[in-house]
């Protein structure tokens, strides 16, 4: 999961942004063997709508699920042997050059026998 801070993103100049996007494109190429699913880049957090639990049934609200400074900007699915391999790839995520960005790594549930 790729996260960033919109307040800091807004301060990034257009030239830097386009340079980073160029490198992101290359990044997907370089790691294509480990990327099981390119995932998606998400539209800005101002476009978010949240459906939340309510006592009288689900409630629809404007905005992200969590009022945090950091927002999720997208995700990709990696297929790698272990956490170290995932960290090694995450380290090279081009946007990490920009302040306020991070990459959160989470294992995916693959064994559903526990739910049987």
């Amino acid at each position: 999961m790729f996260t960033s801070r919109p307040d800091l993103d807004a301060q990034t100049g257009p030239e830097t942004t386009s340079a980073v996007y160029r490198r992101i494109y290359e990044w997907f190429g370089e790691h294509s063997e480990s990327i099981a699913d390119g995932g998606a880049e998400l539209m800005g957090v101002e476009t978010a709508t949240t459906v939340r639990h309510g006592d009288d049934g689900p409630v629809v609200v404007d905005g992200p699920f969590n009022e945090a400074k950091e927002v999720i900007g997208g995700f990709s699915v990696l297929d790698v042997p272990d956490l170290d391999a995932a960290i090694a790839i995450a380290r090279t995520w081009p946007m990490l050059d920009l302040p306020g960005t991070s990459v959160e790594i989470r294992p995916m549930v693959v064994d559903y026998s526990q739910f049987e």
Binding site: L83, D84, Q114, E116
Partner: protein
């Protein structure tokens, strides 16, 4: 009592040799770190009971291995039953004990997994002591003065993360090694410090400091081209070599200045010196090597009065470049106060005060300097400030003793 302790020492020796490689091997075989660690931990607990009662078996490694394997298979079967999949799983085959394997690489790989940066720092320490060194949860809880429940929960969470997040049992690649090694070395260092400051005996059936020295030596042996690994092994060996002289007959700490140097382990000091020389030839200085070099100056000085203070100060200057923490700077000022005027030392110490206002040793050191300068009232106030900065009884007791020492030999 004495006999008990000898047996405990033997048990500790066997357990720390065998535990790590066994956990690593079972984790690989069953592809489940959590299961393997739990199986070995139960075997360790069984061993402590059985061996204390009957004495260690002729082949403790095989004994432990058989017990751990049985527990692991039980674990597999239990899990399978829970999932009602028992029929579908092939029965795991019984593997003959493999007692010839040295397991050194396995142990180091396991150590890197337990000290992985993806784990919470306090969990790294607890997990390392259990999985790599073979301490039990109650032993670790006693050493760190935390409740067993808290510690057990910390370990469960960490083990689950190792399993689910895919933390591999492997020595990191060359490019990642220095950073990952640093994490490993700091865990060993913390373990040693905890063992070193707590008084020996009472309630402790495991000598944590000795375990840490052993672990540091194992890492140094496995990674002979990592200068800092050699440096930490040298540092801990040097500190531990003074263990016998650090407490008097009443169990109170003895100042470095007042220690009977003939009771130091001079063989260990010589071996640490050799380690340090090997490290120096690798030409990659670092903070552990420098701290070891400082400890070596003290360890090889015939008396307190003959300590080569200019050399100590020079080493602290280098250390401050690698580790500019206020605590290192405090120690440097203490060393400098031996070569210069106490008044100037006090002035420099006061410059550090804002960064170290809550560090009791700053105030304890100020108290000493003030006393030297003939300002007893201010000295007393500084001593009281130092005492007031402790929160619990154990720390207060420790500080009361520490207040009588000069915190010169950094880290102890």
């Amino acid at each position: 009592m004495t006999d008990d302790r000898v047996t405990d020492g033997l048990l500790a020796q066997v357990l720390r040799e065998e535990t790590g490689p066994l956990v690593a091997r079972l984790a690989r075989r069953h592809r489940d770190f959590d299961l393997a660690e739990e199986a070995v931990q139960s075997a360790v607990a069984e061993a402590l009971t059985a061996w204390r009662r009957d004495g260690p078996p002729r082949n403790p490694a095989a004994w432990l291995q058989v017990a751990a394997q049985r527990n692991a298979l039980d674990g597999v079967r239990r899990a399978a039953r829970q999932r009602r999949l028992a029929e579908r799983l092939p029965a795991p085959c019984e593997v003959a004990p493999d007692v010839t394997s040295t397991g050194t690489d396995d142990r180091i790989a396991l150590l890197f997994a337990c000290c992985h940066p993806a784990l919470a720092p306090e969990a790294r320490l607890a997990l390392t002591l259990r999985a790599v060194v073979g301490m039990t949860t109650p032993q670790i809880a006693r050493a760190f003065l935390v409740s067993e429940a808290t510690l057990a929960q910390r370990i469960v969470r960490a083990k689950r993360k190792v399993s689910t997040a895919g933390i591999g049992l492997a020595v990191p690649t060359d490019s990642e090694l220095p950073e990952r090694l640093d994490d490993v070395l700091s865990v060993i260092c913390v373990a040693f410090n905890e063992g070193f400051v707590s008084t020996t005996g009472a309630g402790h059936d495991r000598d944590l400091a000795a375990d840490a020295v052993w672990l540091a030596s194992a890492v140094a042996a496995a990674l002979p081209t990592s200068a800092e690994a050699l440096g930490l092994a040298a540092l801990l060996t040097l500190q531990h070599a003074r263990a016998a002289a650090r407490f008097d007959a009443h169990g109170d700490l003895v100042l470095l200045a007042d220690q009977d140097r003939s009771r130091w382990d001079h063989e260990a000091i010589a071996s640490a010196d050799a380690l340090l020389e090997r490290a120096a030839r690798l030409r990659a200085p670092g903070r552990y090597q420098l701290r070891a070099a400082i400890a070596a100056v003290h360890a090889t000085s015939p008396s307190w009065e003959e300590t080569d203070w200019p050399q100590v100060v020079a080493l602290y200057d280098l250390l401050a470049a690698h580790d500019p923490s206020p605590v290192v700077r405090l120690n440097r000022e203490i060393a400098r106060s031996r070569t210069g005027s106490p008044a100037e030392a006090l002035a420099r110490l006061d410059a550090l005060a804002p960064a170290l206002a809550s560090y009791h040793l700053l105030h304890a050191t100020r108290a000493e300097l003030l006393r030297t300068l003939g300002r007893p009232d201010e000295a007393r106030a500084a001593d009281e400030t130092a005492l007031s900065l402790t929160s619990n009884d154990a720390e207060r007791r420790l500080l009361t003793v520490r207040l009588r020492r000069r915190p010169l030999d950094d880290g102890s």
